[in-house]
């Protein structure tokens, strides 16, 4: 089996458990993104794969081989760090050549491989420069080049774009996407806390929280069908609106009652045991629309703030049952007076219902 397999991977620093047993299979050539809030253990997991942190428990297989006790350089991985981690006293060429020189590779071969990487990343004009004479974007390209030269089975990226400004971030992101396309057999594991990077780059996203995997799936799979409240609110921007509710009728469709007494029928199957239990109703801001005519609204409340961004309008609505206003993202420009009543509706198939444990009914 090619690719990676993580089996019950754990990490503890002394008495503190940081990763609580992660199971994950990654196919050869896949682009996997770890996302999660800061401090959830993304870097720790990646560094265990790299071999920079010891694995406290579980098994890590790369390309079918158990690598728990194999040093980083023998694992067939290359890593790109957030801070670039270039060797400041070496030229761009020497930075990229360092690994091959350590491995006592032939000088002509080094030259060829570094030249290739430099060509892919358009670094040829800078080969003689020291890192300090490069811009942030160029430095990160050198770091990526250094990884390419190692010709690894698995590329590991730890927030590689976080130190770049917004425009460069987009450009470098596209470059990484192209790089993956040009090397279809290389597996890439990419850590970020930025869900836009995750959504745009990933074949599959692994959502982590507090050292556990919350959900693994394709970007759109996670967006359309989050397994629980955490994923629902983490993926998508602005975050999904969550309204406390009560399940009043179960069956092939589920009827819930909202705090203001309104009833909503969601086309989601539910077991009869759930009847009468507390639940959460979830709806994404972009799935809300204004009720036309006098159809029955799903939600209604008072407008507290309107943000017109041109292509879209964000409307913040105070509704019963929530301290924070609910957000609706409407296409085009809309005018509302603050304090006026607004009636919102949504397509039934866009609705999400989570049980009292926060698990989506679709995943029960």
């Amino acid at each position: 089996m090619a690719g990676l397999a993580l089996k019950q991977i754990r990490k503890s620093y002394g008495p503190v458990d940081v990763i609580h047993g992660v199971d994950l299979d990654i196919d050869e050539g896949e682009f996997i993104v770890f996302v999660g809030p800061s401090g959830c253990g993304k870097s720790t997991l990646l560094r265990m794969i790299a071999g920079l942190e010891t694995i406290s428990g579980g098994e890590l297989h790369i390309d079918g081989q158990l690598v728990n006790d194999i040093p980083p350089s023998m694992r067939g991985i290359a890593m790109v760090f957030q801070s670039y981690a270039l060797y400041p006293h070496m030229t761009v060429f020497d930075n990229m050549a360092f690994g091959m020189r350590i491995a006592k590779a032939d000088a002509a071969e080094i030259k060829r491989r570094v030249g290739e990487a430099a060509e892919i990343l358009q670094l040829e004009p800078y080969l003689d420069r020291l890192p300090k004479a490069l811009s942030g974007g160029q430095r990160q390209r050198v770091a990526i080049g250094r990884a390419i030269v190692r010709n690894p089975k698995v590329f590991l990226f730890d927030e590689p774009l976080s130190n770049l400004d917004a425009a460069l971030r987009v450009a470098t992101r596209i470059e990484i996407a192209k790089l993956h396309e040009s090397m279809p057999s290389s597996t890439m594991i990419y850590v970020t806390h930025d869900q836009v990077e995750a959504m745009t780059l990933a074949d599959r996203i692994v959502v982590l929280s507090a050292g556990n995997i919350e959900q693994v799936g394709s970007p759109l799979g996670l967006y359309d069908n989050p397994r629980n409240l955490f994923v629902a609110q983490f993926i998508g921007s602005p975050a999904m609106n969550i309204v406390p509710a009560k399940i009043v009728k179960t069956g092939t469709k589920t009827t819930i009652e909202l705090p203001d007494g309104g009833k909503v029928v969601a086309p989601i199957k539910s077991g009869s045991a759930l009847e009468g239990s507390n639940a959460s109703f979830g709806i994404r801001p972009e799935d809300l629309s204004i009720v036309d005519g006098d159809k029955k609204p799903v939600l209604q409340g008072q407008v507290s703030l309107v943000e017109s961004l041109g292509e879209v309008t964000m409307i913040y609505v105070d509704i019963e049952g929530r301290d924070e206003p609910l957000v609706a993202k409407l296409a085009g420009t809309h005018m509302f007076e603050r304090g006026s009543t607004i009636k919102l509706t949504a397509e039934p198939e866009k609705m999400h219902v989570f049980d009292s444990e926060g698990i989506s009914l679709q995943h029960l």
């Binding site: 071999g51 920079l52 040093p71 890593m79 981690a85 006293h89 360092f98 350590i102």
Partner: protein, 332 residues
């Protein structure tokens, strides 16, 4: 008067004087010379701010001038005069007399030897100690021990090492550690400090012992400043511990190594107390500073003494300039 009262008085006068100087000179500048009012207010404020740095620098410049610059010129003058002729100008006669003395050339030669051995060994041992003590749990205790000699005066250190090199007549117990070890291995007791040319190295050991602590402290801070992720990147690139040390860490702290090296070099050029206390320049261990002391304060020959002082200064200056240049580069 009671010395304690005297000390307190000195502190009050000294600190009060400094505060008073800064306060009143600034008041004078801002209120009287360039007052921040009237038609030229903007220009006055600018001028006052241009003068102010000099106000602050003046005491230091004055003291340095009095205690450093003036003596340099006075020494230069003395080196061109002869005391026996009532201080008459004699040109370079002192220098030519000095260069005809074998003891002077011995001192120059020994100084060069010190210059090569001591900074190199101190820096190397300091680097080694810095790297190794960072890796062990009792590293801080080890560091304190290695740094301790820095707190001992050169003369004190010399006394300690003189005991280590001590020799007793053959029928007595050897109290010197070196002889004790030597005899234990079956040798005859030696009077170590008289064995040329090795006695020079025995003296150097004292300074290396003292300066290693200094090198270790500075280099250990520099080593900690090496970004951890460049080391991790090297680990992933397959570098072993020695390659990481020599190819990643050392190049990144090279400018600090140069500063440490040159700083110790300057100490070495001035080395005096150790030689004075241990051999007083006998048995081929003379060095420039002790030679100067001999001439100035034992032969009372201020001409040749000053001439040798000028030679020391000439040797120190370029290294000092280089040291300051590197230290500046380090800070940027």
């Amino acid at each position: 008067m009671n010395p304690a009262i005297l000390a307190i008085l000195t502190i009050i006068i000294g600190v009060g004087g400094c505060v008073g100087y800064f306060y009143f000179s600034n008041q004078l500048l801002d209120k009287v010379i360039f007052p921040a009012r009237g038609p030229n207010i903007g220009r006055n404020i600018n001028r006052a701010n241009m003068v102010r740095p000099w106000l602050f620098l003046f005491p230091a410049i004055f003291a340095l001038g009095l205690y450093l610059a003036y003596p340099v010129f006075a020494t230069l003058w003395l080196s061109l005069t002869d005391r026996d002729q009532g201080g008459a100008f004699v040109g370079l006669a002192n220098y030519s007399q000095m260069s005809s003395e074998p003891k002077f050339w011995e001192a120059i030669g020994n100084n060069m030897l010190w210059l090569i051995v001591v900074p190199a060994m101190s820096t190397a041992f300091g680097l080694l100690a810095a790297q190794l003590t960072d890796r062990i749990s009792w590293g801080n205790i080890a560091k304190s021990m290695i740094f301790m000699p820095m707190a001992i005066s050169f003369v004190g250190a010399s006394v300690i090492w003189k005991l280590i090199y001590d020799t007793r007549p053959e029928n007595q117990d050897q109290i010197g550690v070196l002889n004790a070890v030597w005899v234990w291995f079956g040798g005859d007791p030696q009077t170590w400090l008289t064995i040329e040319p090795w006695n020079n190295f025995l003296l150097m050991v004292v300074l290396i012992w003292i300066q290693t602590g200094f090198a270790m402290v500075i280099l250990s801070a520099a080593l900690r400043g090496v970004p951890e992720d460049t080391i991790e990147a090297a680990i992933i690139d397959g570098a072993g511990p020695f390659q990481i040390f020599f190819k990643i860490k050392i190049p990144q702290i090279m400018s600090t190594i140069v500063v440490v090296w040159t700083t110790i070099t300057i100490v070495v050029l001035k080395v005096f107390d150790i030689v004075l206390a241990m051999t007083n320049g006998q048995w081929g261990t003379q060095v420039l500073a002790n030679y100067m002391y001999d001439k100035l304060f034992r032969s009372f020959d201020w001409g040749v003494g000053s001439a040798s002082a000028m030679i020391i200064m000439l040797l120190v200056s370029p290294i000092l300039v280089w040291n300051v240049y590197n230290a500046n580069k380090e800070m940027r």
